[in-house]
């Protein structure tokens, strides 16, 4: 099992009331942007990723968001390039490049090839469709999001493997001269992992392509449902899905004492946390979600990644209040919500002693070949952030790796995704274990 370290690289210098007043992070004015603080923090976060390598993480992961102080990775490939040069061992996992949002797959192919070359083959490319707000920021037509995603992906694979020059006239992209002189270090090209929330179409596409699917902190029960769906598609494709096909990322924070850990964990709901990533109208733009996805989302009412949930759909159906906000009341509700989410094991906070059993449970249930720690959000200081990483790496990670070995969780590098053949007519094996959920009173 690969263990990775991830942070959104939050902008740590925005007063919470500005986010609460805006009812979300996206669209808070960039008049609050401070160049000195930002410059310091870009340096700090890059140093922090290097520290993750020093601590022994197998991978560092980055993501991309636009126009949103929740994440400073507006151009993730820039940071990935720096890490490609500075780090020596860790895999650089991108979760992921938003293909339909950038709308220039040839440029994407060039950028990623350079990163792979500079890192000498440590890149793991990840493709995402982009959050709803990314469509607005980049003026990407949400109704064509899935089509552009598929077309861009197919084009990049060709750009990396088909000798040029050649011409391409597609539906959404047109290139009269394809002959990139930056080609990936890894052959045929870097591994591709697909982070996602709950969209069945994405899961199906993933399974058909044999790409590992990285669950982003989704509730355990629905995640098992999704894994089952992936495994069913895999079976149709003639292979048995296993840990090498799945990854899981979860907000995790540690401290020397339980009290301190819980206090710091509050920052996962700073400004409303992921649920406040963007207001409803920006979260699900028209045409972005298929009917099937909307119906599936409507079933999951509690917080999911970036606030995409049934609750968000309900919010966008309703009037939307314009009354004055009582911020203390809001904070109280956020804290209560956080406690609930901790009970669901969707946020892990504590000392190594309390954290280890929780993550072991997650590993036992979801059986992922990749586990990624999503570091604390909000205005948390460097020392507390680094302590959390250190406690995880030194005290938690060895226990997790031992457990992963015991219950046999090969990662995608140990066992090629899609390589375990399933004989025609045979029933596929299970890919998750819901047993521990019942014992914990979870669904």
């Amino acid at each position: 099992m690969q263990v990775g370290y991830f942070t959104e690289r939050p902008y740590r210098w925005l007063p919470e009331e500005e986010i609460l007043r805006n009812r979300g992070y996206f669209a808070v004015s960039n008049s609050f942007f401070d160049r000195e603080k930002a410059a310091n923090d870009y340096h700090y976060y890059l140093d922090e990723y290097c520290y993750a390598e020093d601590l022994g993480f197998d991978a560092v992961a980055l993501n991309e968001h636009h126009g949103n102080p929740f994440c400073m990775g507006s151009v993730m490939n820039v940071e990935a390039s720096v890490l490609a040069y500075r780090t020596k061992r860790v895999r650089i996992v991108l979760i992921g490049n938003p293909l339909p949002v950038i709308k220039h797959p040839l440029r994407m192919a060039e950028e990623l090839a350079e990163i792979d070359l500079i890192s000498r083959g440590r890149l793991v490319t990840g493709w995402v469709r982009g959050a709803g707000s990314e469509q607005f920021f980049n003026n990407a037509n949400p109704a064509y999001n899935r089509e552009m995603f598929n077309e861009a992906h197919d084009f990049i694979v060709q750009a990396w493997t088909r000798p040029g020059p050649w011409r391409y006239e597609g539906k959404h992209f047109h290139y009269r001269h394809v002959n990139p002189w930056a080609l990936p270090y890894q052959k045929p090209y870097p591994p591709m992992w697909i982070p996602g929330v709950l969209s069945p179409e994405t899961v199906q596409w993933c399974a058909e392509h044999r790409y590992p699917y990285i669950g982003l902190g989704t509730q355990l029960g629905p995640t098992c449902d999704l894994w089952d769906y992936y495994a069913d598609v895999a079976a149709q494709q003639g292979y048995q899905a296993g840990p090498e096909n799945f990854g899981y990322l979860i907000p995790t924070v540690l401290a020397e004492s339980e009290e301190k850990a819980q206090a710091i964990a509050d920052n996962f709901v700073y400004g409303g946390g992921q649920n406040a990533f963007s207001a409803p109208q920006f979260t699900m733009p028209p045409g972005y979600n298929s009917k099937g996805a909307i119906r599936m989302l409507a079933k999951q009412q509690t917080s999911a990644w970036l606030g995409v949930s049934g609750a968000k759909i309900t919010e966008s159906m309703e009037e939307g209040d314009t009354g004055a906000v009582n911020y203390d009341e809001v904070r109280r509700k956020l804290r209560a919500g956080l406690q609930k989410v901790e009970q669901n094991l969707q946020v892990i906070a504590g000392t190594p002693t309390t954290v280890i059993p929780k993550i072991k449970t997650i590993l036992s249930v979801l059986r992922p070949g990749v586990f990624i720690m999503f570091s604390i959000q909000g205005p948390v200081g460097n020392d507390d952030r680094r302590t959390s990483m250190r406690l995880f790496a030194e005290d938690v990670m060895p226990a997790l790796k031992e457990h992963a070995k015991a219950i046999d969780l090969p990662d995608p590098f140990q066992r090629k995704p899609g390589s375990v053949k399933l004989a025609a007519g045979t029933k596929r094996g299970p890919v998750s274990d819901r047993g521990p959920l019942a014992a914990l009173g979870l669904k």
């Binding site: 607005f136 003026n139 037509n141 949400p142 109704a143 064509y144 409803p280 109208q281 920006f282 733009p285 028209p286 045409g287 009917k291 909307i294 409507a298 759909i313 919010e315 966008s316 159906m317 309703e318 009037e319 939307g320």
Partner: protein
């Protein structure tokens, strides 16, 4: 009381859902970006001496989406084929909002297709002043609310859009907005070449606009006036983006007078 039927017409290679009501000379109604809201008071009045033909736009839930239609110009071309196959041209038309944009595209492509053209708060031309409201950047609820100046005192608005939004209703509005995004995303709800293509159009044209329209600014009306010399303008004082339900009497008077001229 409401005398209309829903039917399916096989035309232009598609199965087009259509609402037909009334009696008399045919009158084409092109609904707005949120879809056909149902048979209203203004429909009933005009249906007294006209046959209203209201095609349900492909991709809005009744007529299947047509993938080759990628913009309003394409949609206009599709509808033009339908009219020709049904032998309906030249026909009078009332186009609402994005339906007005659509009608203008059709007239620009084929000046003979409409005998008379009414554009109600039409999109399609970028206003020199003001902006067409970016309705994609608000929730469905806020979008609907923005379409009338005084929702609480517009009975037909409350009847159709007020109260609890059911998941089915929400889905049908999302269908409409999704298809509108697909064909109208950028340039947003206008085509820079449309004013140029309308030059010299001789089709008698009436532009109707509510003075409190929060979706389409007066600048769009000015744009159409500049493009179509001879176009008449009727402002409906105090109405928002839906004068046909916000002041049905004034709307009927203005449209009836124009169509009878």
């Amino acid at each position: 009381m409401a005398n209309f039927i829903e039917e399916t017409v096989k035309a232009a290679g598609a199965e087009l859902a259509l609402v037909r009501g009334g009696s008399g000379k045919p009158l084409l109604i092109l609904h707005d970006e949120l879809g056909y809201p149902g048979w209203m008071g203004w429909n009933e009045k005009l249906a007294q001496d006209r046959t209203l033909l209201i095609p349900q736009q492909p991709g809005y839930g009744k007529t299947p989406r047509i993938d080759w239609i990628m913009n309003y110009r394409d949609l206009g071309g599709f509808y033009a084929q339908v009219l020709r196959e049904m032998k309906l041209e030249p026909i009078d038309v009332i186009g609402f909002s994005a339906g007005g944009y659509l009608a203008a595209e059709m007239a620009a492509a084929d000046p003979a297709i409409f005998s008379r053209m009414v554009l109600v708060a039409p999109m399609g031309i970028k206003p020199a002043q003001g902006e067409i409201m970016d309705f994609f950047a608000v929730t469905v609820r806020r979008h609907l609310m923005a379409t009338v100046a005084d929702p609480a005192n517009t009975p037909e608005y409350t009847k159709i859009y007020g109260g609890q939004m059911t998941p089915e209703r929400f889905e049908s509005f999302e269908d409409a907005r999704a298809e509108t995004a697909r064909i109208g995303w950028e340039p947003f709800m206008h085509n820079p070449s449309l004013p140029h293509l309308l030059r010299g159009l001789k089709t008698p044209t009436l532009l109707v606009w509510g003075t409190r329209d929060g979706v389409v600014p007066r600048g769009c009306i000015d744009g159409y006036r500049a493009a179509i010399s001879g176009a008449q303008v009727v402002e409906i004082a105090g109405a928002g983006h839906r004068p046909e339900i916000e002041n049905a009497a004034e709307f009927d008077r203005a449209v009836r007078k124009f169509l009878a001229a």
